[in-house]
């Protein structure tokens, strides 16, 4: 069964293909799809290709359905590994999640930063 695909265009012009159902995790994109204001290419103007790739990876993993089953335990473990990045990457991920309205990614980023600060593993430069 083929699912509808859409294209996301990063701020540096790189194109990414993603399933529409997966992309709907981003409320900003979901609203654009529903408003039918896209020609299958959605510009994500303030997210670089490097960060957008990570966002898509996150959305693909969290789009759980019959074809892609995943337990909560596995997701938590994956999330923890996914957030093992340098602080500026986490910041940019957080900004992207905020702009695209991905609540779960935003909450994950908040918690990661807060935990790192609380555990004195964070450098405020």
């Amino acid at each position: 069964m083929s699912t509808k695909k859409i294209m996301l265009k990063s701020s540096d012009g790189k194109m990414f293909e993603i399933e529409e159902e997966t992309a709907r995790q981003c409320q900003t994109i979901a609203h654009m799809i529903e408003a039918e204001c896209t020609d299958n290419v959605i510009p994500v103007s303030n997210v670089t290709s490097e960060i957008l790739e990570m966002v898509i990876e996150y959305c693909n993993k969290h789009h759980v359905d019959a074809a892609n089953p995943c337990s909560d335990e596995d997701l938590k473990k994956w999330d923890k590994e996914f957030m093992e990045k340098d602080q500026y990457t986490i910041f940019h991920l957080m900004n992207a999640a905020y702009d695209l309205h991905i609540k779960s990614l935003l909450a994950l980023a908040y918690q990661t930063v807060a935990d790192m600060v609380n555990d004195n593993k964070w450098a405020f430069e």
């Binding site: 500026y88 910041f91 940019h92 957080m94 900004n95 905020y98 908040y110 918690q111 930063v113 807060a114 600060v117 609380n118 405020f124 430069e125």
Partner: protein, 506 residues
Amino acid sequence: MDAPNPKRPCLVPLGTSSIENPCSLPIAPDFNQSNIDLTISSFLSLSDLPLFSLPLSIGCSFDRVLDNVIPSIAGTSRDEFDQDRFLDRTLQLASLLYKSTKRCIRKRATLQNSTSWPLLPELTIKVFSMLDTKSLMQASACCTMFNKCAMDRVCYSHIDLTTAAEDVDNGVVCVMIHRAGKELRSLKLGSISSSAEPTTSLLTRSCLTPLTFNHGFTGGHLRSLHLYHLRMIDCGSLSPVLSACLNLTDLKIVGLDNPLEQLGLLTRNCRLIEHLFIEIYGAAGLITDSSLLEFAANCPNLSSISLLGFLLNDAILQKLIKGFRRLKHINLSSSPEISGCFFRGLELCGKDSPLETLILRDCYILKESEVLLFLNSLLAGDFKYIRLIDVSNVDGLVCDGGNRTFEPRFPIEELKKQRSNVTFVAIFESQSSLSSSRFPLEELNKERPGLTFVAEFRSPSPSESDVRSPSPSSSSDSSSSSDSSSSSSSGESSDESGTEEEEDED
């Protein structure tokens, strides 16, 4: 530099001069703000000149101008007065320039921070709101931008000052409660450490008074209040504070003075309380029936009650439990007058009882026969929701002859078969130094539900009492932990735990 010369007091307000001379620096009527800005700008643009020593330096120019304006021999007293004013004004101008430069440097640094810091202010505030209070204070001291973000009310919705108890006084708590305002949801104060005595805490009951300000505006939003070892804290002083906290659902007080007679007073206005934890210092007075009835009526939603160190007897306890129909968790550890007769009252609830946790640690006169009766009711299918029972006691249980036993006859094997989801803890140590309270049983129950039964019955033999490491008695084999994932036999696991305790003691 910051203040005018103290030896030359300025007696006349600046800018009010009646004498026309160079010292008084009169302001021309057509001299507007842009002229002033232009003059200062021209002055500051001299920066490419050398600052000191050379004849062309700015420093030498200052000296020459001041020497010309202030003659070496003073004339009339009026001239002298104007010269004083001129010098004061010069110092003031220099001070103003210094302060403006400092402000400019800070603004520039703040601007630089805000451009280099990649997070939007609202995201920074959200992150800060998830920090513990100590980390928030450290972050707010980093820079002006962080300080502004850390001033947001949301950052103070969960105030936890238990990790910095020795550095916190009433003033700090009051400031934080004010900052939180209507966003305040939970407040934890004092030193959690059990060794902390009430006299060592800097905090007193008055740190809670901001909760009552403005008709309890701040306190009215509070959901959780935990107080550890605050000084001068009793029911009388807490009552007005709690009367402002109408939406409180979780109340924990460690180190309360003699609260029993006033339990009703304490909870009079907190009708939404679900979790109540009170641990007291000294011996509490006996609770009266009227106070008990009031307490039960005040807290219809109570689902978890922990009363540690209370002089509760079985009759009172029976009434207490009957009064609270929704109780899921009961912890009555260190109650010296509980024998266990109240279990019979519990049995009336039978299968429908919502009870999940029952902890009776170190209840000195707890009887083996009463615990056995309760376990038999479990085997009969009562208390279908129960998950954890703890009757551990450093002094063992009271048996029929009035003696004490470290090897009670409990139907462990049957319980394992019929109620495998229940964790039954019965650790009996002969030495109080090896207190069973070390084991985080409730956490274990949550995190490792596979650990179904822990019941180590230990009695000291004469040879063991010297080395302070009691080994399991013969009955422990049948009643030790039955963790399916463990490859070692129950006897071995008991030995290991004994060894660990011995090392701890060393």
